[in-house]
């Protein structure tokens, strides 16, 4: 018994030891798995869809193991705001192989992602491209006309993909907008007024006319009473408050500055750095609670300092900051003239490297009737102050200064002149005969940096012409000219017809 017992232990122990220490040789036989690629998916040009339309994409699933059954995979379509890196901004569109969804995404540019997962191997493949959601009124020139003393907004809607302008006459009627337009038109102004750090929808399309000042919805141009300018004002604002003119500057993605001249002829300031509202306390005062002086409706600003003109005292005044509540007379050391009447002033400025707030003012001596041109970089000393000796300059009704040439464009009736500041002479650039020029400007874009079209258009002159003999509402024309060097003849780059008497042109930019 003992022997059997001992021998069995002697046998069991090594058996156990031997089997427990088997070498794990591993499994070295590999086999190919299904490798999936996605075809028929445009990663170069991306996709464009109209807001409220249907987006259809049918990608091809190319499988290395010939696994073609739709059910062999799971699918996911996502879109994601293109500037964001956070996955919180990912939104699921569909879980089907092909995409066929209504586009209920606000207009803009997004990243579109498509994921395919093999149910068997659990391997995931994904591709991404850009998705642009547009509307028919995505971007373009906004042309405000006077039609029998009423306001009408037309739009030259620009399609960036094929570089075509489509003209929409009475675009507000087309968009079923109810914004009050039954007054004499003053201005259309397009610029953000609140940054995306506060709200996604902060782009302002402002319409100023004699019955009121209102914004319209940035995508649909719709209107309701809360779009009235009073909702952007802090204070006891009268119900019928309206503005004559708005000057705005896009200082940065979160910093917007506005100056508004009310029909009460007072200046009000709005800044995202000073409470996101127009302070209903006039800025045209020397002490915050002081008496207002008469101010010319032209305001120059570089984003912090503003320059205006006191027409009572006939001197330039300056507001020190966006939060200022009063102004001071400009320092005598700057050598700006006093005692004159201000006919026109504009500050041509974009917050871009290499651009300075170049300000031009046209002033008239009430005693001698002589007209002078003043040029200064905002808040610095005057660098040019000379009499304007251009042809019929005293008869000019519209002015526009070129952003990249020393030319002051002006119109006398149907004649368009270019006044060269240094040659001190005028060149006749266009003669519209019996028609008259109603509008001149170099359009200001709220942001043109890195956008070649906007860069080029901001330096091109827009001329609004009206033929008194024509039918009201379609007797207006808009010409666009590029400005050559050395006083060369202007080159007409675009021409559109069918407007009313053009009063103001803005650009709804993207």
């Amino acid at each position: 018994m003992k022997k059997i017992f001992l021998y069995s232990i002697l046998f069991i122990i090594p058996a156990v030891v031997i089997t427990s220490c088997y070498k794990d040789t591993g499994n070295y036989s590999y086999h190919a798995i299904n490798v999936v690629t996605i075809g028929n998916y445009d990663t170069v040009k991306g996709y464009t869809a109209l807001y409220k339309d249907t987006l259809r994409i049918s990608p091809a699933i190319i499988s290395s193991e010939d696994v073609t059954d739709d059910d062999a995979y799971t699918y996911k379509w996502w879109y994601h705001k293109s500037t964001s890196v956070s996955t919180i901004d990912d939104s699921l569109l569909a879980k089907t192989k092909n995409l066929n969804v209504p586009v209920n995404i606000a207009p803009g540019t997004y990243i579109l992602m498509y994921e395919v997962t093999d149910k068997n191997t659990k391997v995931l493949v994904h591709v991404r491209t850009t998705l642009t959601v547009t509307t028919e009124v995505f971007e373009g020139f906004m042309v405000l006309s006077d039609v029998n003393n009423q306001s009408r907004l037309d739009m030259l809607s620009y399609n960036k993909t094929n570089s075509i302008f489509t003209q929409f006459t009475d675009v507000l009627k087309k968009q079923n907008s109810t914004v009050p337009m039954n007054g004499t038109p003053y201005q259309v102004h397009c610029m953000p007024y609140v940054g995306t750090n506060i709200t996604q929808q902060g782009y302002g399309i402002f319409l100023l006319n004699s019955v009121g000042t209102n914004r319209v919805n940035q995508e649909t141009f719709g209107w309701d009473p809360t779009y009235n300018i009073r909702y952007l004002m802090a204070g006891d604002v009268p119900a019928n408050f309206a503005a004559k003119r708005i000057t705005g500057l896009n200082v940065s993605a979160t910093n917007y500055l506005y100056y508004m001249v009310g029909q009460d002829n007072n200046v009000y300031c709005y800044s995202t750095q000073a409470g996101y509202a127009f302070r209903y306390s006039p800025l045209n005062v020397y002490t915050p609670s002081g008496i207002t002086f008469k101010v010319a409706p032209y305001i120059a600003t570089n984003g912090s300092i503003a320059v205006m003109y006191n027409t009572d005292k006939k001197t330039f005044v300056t507001a020190a900051a966006a939060s200022s509540n009063s102004v001071t007379d400009v320092a005598p050391a700057l050598n700006y003239p006093t005692g004159l009447d201000l006919l026109y002033m504009e500050c041509i400025y974009y917050v871009e490297a290499g651009v300075v707030p170049n300000t031009y003012a046209i002033l008239k001596d009430p005693a001698t009737q002589k007209i002078y041109l003043l040029n200064f970089v905002l808040a610095k000393a005057q660098t040019y102050y000379q009499e304007i000796t251009g042809t019929d300059f005293n008869l000019a009704t519209n002015y526009a200064v070129s952003p990249d040439h020393n030319y002051v464009f002006y119109s006398v009736g149907g004649k368009l002149y270019e006044y060269d500041m240094y040659l001190k002479s005028s060149f006749l650039m266009a003669d519209y005969g019996a028609s008259s020029i109603s509008y001149l400007s170099f359009p200001h874009f709220s942001s043109r940096f890195n956008k070649p079209n906007y860069m080029s258009w901001s330096k091109s002159l827009l001329v609004g012409v009206v033929d008194a003999a024509g039918t009201a509402g379609s007797n207006g024309k808009l010409d666009q000219y590029s400005i050559p060097d050395v006083n060369g003849q202007l080159v007409k780059t675009n021409s559109w017809m069918g407007f009313g008497k053009i009063v103001s042109v803005g650009y709804r930019d993207r």
Partner: protein
């Protein structure tokens, strides 16, 4: 004899195997305790500050909910507990406050609250009074949890102090934000600003949540300055409560 060895080994094996009994789990076994559970945002506190100052004049009373919590399992029926008023309290029952008749933890709950109705008496405008409530043991609950370590100090979980006042105080934001517009704080100034310009009385505590605060304050300060100047010109200069100092806004808004 050899068979003894085998039997012996067999017994050892059986004993060893038998000794490995599965141990039963230890479960919670203590009395149910009750204690106050007041938190402001995430900070646990043992006093509540209540003010009537920012409410409109028409408001004459308000109820404060006092949260409490218990240990142990939720019960299927309501359970009563006992709250006493500490004699050190400066408030008077029925005059400044009204307590509920019974204090009850609702069935199925572990965290609950009871209301204390506070009454807005005129003496609250002159000073701050307090009501101290204490939890005492009864049949349903013990009070063994006496304190909890908070971030700053030890929180008394059995005694809750409710400070009550109607004094309009300048709050945390007057010196940091509002003084730049309105100058030195005074109750008379704030009430007059509210009357003349429409500035809300609770701007001292809620103003910071308003995106348009800076623009509105600029407007209020300028409008008030104009009003004060007009009064002075008409020979009716407005003075602060001391009768000597004329009321003014901050120098930037005069």
């Amino acid at each position: 004899m050899n068979s003894f060895k085998y039997i012996g080994w067999g017994l050892v094996i059986i004993i060893v195997l038998g000794a490995c009994k599965k141990q039963s789990l230890l479960t919670y076994n203590a009395a149910d305790n009750i204690y106050f559970f007041y938190k402001k945002i995430t900070l646990r506190l043992d006093s509540i500050n209540f003010t009537f100052a920012y409410s409109p004049d028409a408001l004459k009373d308000s109820s404060v909910m006092i949260p409490f919590t218990v240990t142990g399992k939720p019960a299927a029926e309501d359970r009563e507990f006992t709250v006493t008023v500490d004699p050190a309290s400066t408030t008077q029952a029925g005059v400044h406050y009204i307590l509920p008749d019974k204090f009850v933890l609702a069935a199925g709950k572990l965290v609950d609250s009871f209301p204390v109705k506070l009454l807005r008496t005129p003496d609250l405008q002159k000073g701050t009074f307090f009501l101290r409530l204490n939890l005492v043991p009864n049949d349903n609950f013990q009070t063994d949890i006496k304190s909890i370590e908070g971030i700053l100090d030890s929180i008394n979980t059995l005694s809750l102090k409710i400070n009550i006042t109607d004094i309009l105080s300048q709050g945390t934001y007057w010196t940091s934000i509002l003084q730049a517009y309105f100058g030195t704080f005074s109750v008379k100034k704030v009430k007059l600003l509210n009357q003349v310009t429409g500035m809300p009385i609770d701007i001292m505590i809620n103003g910071i949540y308003d995106l348009n605060l800076n623009a509105k304050c600029a407007y209020y300060a300028i409008s008030m300055s104009r009003y004060l100047k007009d009064q002075a010109t008409a020979g009716k200069t407005i003075y602060e409560d001391d009768g000597i100092t004329p009321m003014t806004m901050n120098s930037n808004y005069q």
